[in-house]
Symmetry: C2
């Protein structure tokens, strides 16, 4: 609720930074999330719908280096293969922004990690080619999302506001003028766990939700 | 939803800055608000409860100069008596922070505007004396709330998140570490119009809501 999309001081024990995991109870409780990591049960309401939509019609993902790894600087060896175990929850090509080249890593279940060293536009081009006619999803982290937003390369964005104040960490929207970047509110759904917002750029907007609201002026 | 508590460029036509009024439909629809300004009807759910609580047990208010007036600098004359007409919705003493002295203005209905030129702590002291055993409410604007937060002088805060992105204006929480200032989440209530949050300082906290959630660590 105070704008932070991740906590400070990411390390092995805190993949989302300190207290970062507190942002995500809405997700962790969903059937989609539990199924992804091999457990049963979970919620099936709007929170779960948003969790499922995150993977619908997605042909490729883009992640920042720090979302893939707590390691900074050159790759010391090839041991690190992401936070997600042998069968990551992507199942499609994943393009990782980094300054340090590395060979692709094919994983179980259809995920292959590709490392892109020539910038966000190049990564998007590669991801679009890999996704064919499907969508490219920018998974994070905060810095990566902000770079693509600033460059005007995002058509649609889902934001989930958990009732949490981190007070420090990585601020997602600070200094960004979303209406100025062409975004309009397309959906707002509040659950017990989070307030969900979907923004779409004017060109992309298809306002179909009963919660649709215009920015007005 | 992007942190702005008022729009930019306040003037006579835009008392809350450009697009600032878009932040407040949850309030304008309430029975409390309509009654205050002499109309009937209005909503009676949680939005209205929050509107009513804003006036319960309040013995004095503190406002910033810009919440009282679009005028900047010295008072040219004494014609301006606030945005609220002859009978303002306070009905108790109101202390206005300003660098420019002015005599008190008694209004209809129990409101008197006092002008305080020696700082926020002095205004709070005067307001506490005037409020006797009741609460002092800081009504705004954004800069005034931020000054009292930074000084550690706020025990409880209500935030209402409307589904609006202003993109520019006055950011309420930027750079403030609310957990670091001792605030804990005490309530979260989501309605069709807004997500309401109540924060209390640790010393002040009385966690009684079914929506209570701890900050954790």
């Amino acid at each position: 609720m105070d704008g932070y999309g991740a906590g400070p001081d990411q390390d092995m024990q805190n993949p989302l930074g300190k207290r970062g995991m507190e942002l995500h109870p809405w997700l962790l409780k969903t059937r989609m999330f539990r199924k992804t990591f091999g457990t049963e049960g979970g919620s099936t309401g709007p929170d779960n719908d948003f969790a499922e939509r995150a993977h619908q019609n997605v042909g490729a993902w883009i992640l920042g280096r720090n979302m893939f790894s707590p390691v900074r600087g050159p790759w010391v060896n090839n041991d690190w293969k992401g936070w997600w175990g042998g069968n990551p929850p992507y199942h499609v090509p994943v393009f990782i922004l980094t300054h340090h080249a590395r060979d692709p890593i094919p994983m179980e279940g259809g995920t292959t990690f590709y490392f892109v060293t020539d910038g966000i536009e190049s990564a998007l081009k590669k991801a679009k080619e890999a996704a064919k006619n499907k969508d490219v999803r920018i998974g994070g982290g905060v810095s990566t999302v902000r770079q693509y937003l600033k460059a005007g390369l995002v058509d649609e964005m889902h934001l989930a506001y958990s009732p949490v104040f981190l007070g420090q960490g990585e601020n997602l929207l600070a200094g960004l003028d979303l209406p100025g970047l062409g975004f309009k509110l397309a959906e707002r759904v509040a659950t017990e766990e989070a307030t969900h917002i979907v923004l779409k750029t004017k060109n992309h907007a298809e306002l179909t939700s009963p919660h649709e609201t215009s920015f007005g002026q």
